[in-house]
Symmetry: C2
Subunit: 186 residues, 2 copies
């Protein structure tokens, strides 16, 4: 009986991938809030917060970033194994690392959300000033500038955050989750 | 609103430390079962299971073992942050690594359980055949044989598993947990 005693039902992993500034955390928080209001048990794995704890030993080399994503996937699987809806907001630039996590989960339990806005828009937003630093060569391996981003080939959903407001972006993700949960209980 | 939406109440970390074969996992599983029967939400972090997932990148050098313990502590803090009672069954040989985790948690939320049996007894039990392998020099850094074990100086409780049966060993740990939870609700 390792693991959890809350429930035997498997939850969901909702994996939000996209460039820095695309709006992953904003969407994740809003979807989380709405799910919580509906009585759903949720957990949010945020890239920045992960790095202050479980991944505090990691840097920003490609290998370290991949390890960061691997651990986020392990935590997400742990939470989903407890029946929670685990939202993950992480650039996660490489297709193969996202696909690896999908492959580890039961079918239909990994929802890939491509949070998409053109690089120029993300760079204009630059909420953390990271693009400016990357352009000044102060940050190595910055996704979109000096490191690749591989968009998902067949995400469960794609959200263009430059064309819609937060509420419009968040709603289809929420509905996707509700659909996945409804299928489960059939 | 990162993290969890289940509850704002902080849970507990019950950290079982001791030699291989001392009985950590057996006690943890029994305590978990009893807590679950009482409706408590629990999670068990087991050293062996951790190594198949979150810590699959780590070996058995002292540095890797310390990192293994650090991550177990992060997961435990995550679970306790969600209001769960997180039991951790891990040799965790070094005092400073256990104390570091204690220091990261709110006061009274880390219960150190010293699961104690003399080395000779643990070696006789040898449930996984590891002592035999360590004696044949097939395992490097094996706690108690070729690597140190530092017993806790002031654990919340010490259980001598060579002097009592499972039920007798498990009961005081369960009561310690219930006490800590009762104090919380005062």
């Amino acid at each position: 009986m390792p693991g959890d005693s809350i429930t035997r039902d498997y939850g969901l992993v909702v994996w939000l991938t996209g460039l820095s500034g695309a709006g992953k955390t904003t969407i994740a928080r809003n979807v989380q809030r709405l799910l919580a209001q509906r009585g759903r048990r949720t957990y949010l794995v945020d890239g920045d917060i992960l790095r202050t704890g479980l991944c505090s030993d990691l840097g920003y080399s490609l290998a370290d970033r991949e390890e960061n994503i691997r651990r986020a996937g392990e935590v997400a699987a742990m939470m989903a194994g407890m029946g929670l809806i685990c939202l993950v907001a992480l650039i996660s630039p490489l297709r193969k690392s996202r696909d690896k996590i999908r492959a580890q989960l039961p079918a239909g339990r990994f929802l890939e959300v491509f949070v998409n806005a053109p690089l120029e828009i993300c760079e204009q937003r630059d909420p953390k000033g990271l693009y400016a630093r990357a352009r000044r060569n102060e940050l190595a391996n910055f996704t979109g500038i000096s490191s690749p981003y591989e968009p998902p080939l067949s995400p469960e959903i794609e959200i263009r955050t430059d064309l819609r407001n937060v509420k419009q972006c968040m709603r289809p993700v929420f509905e996707l989750v509700e659909q996945a949960l409804a299928q489960e209980s059939l």
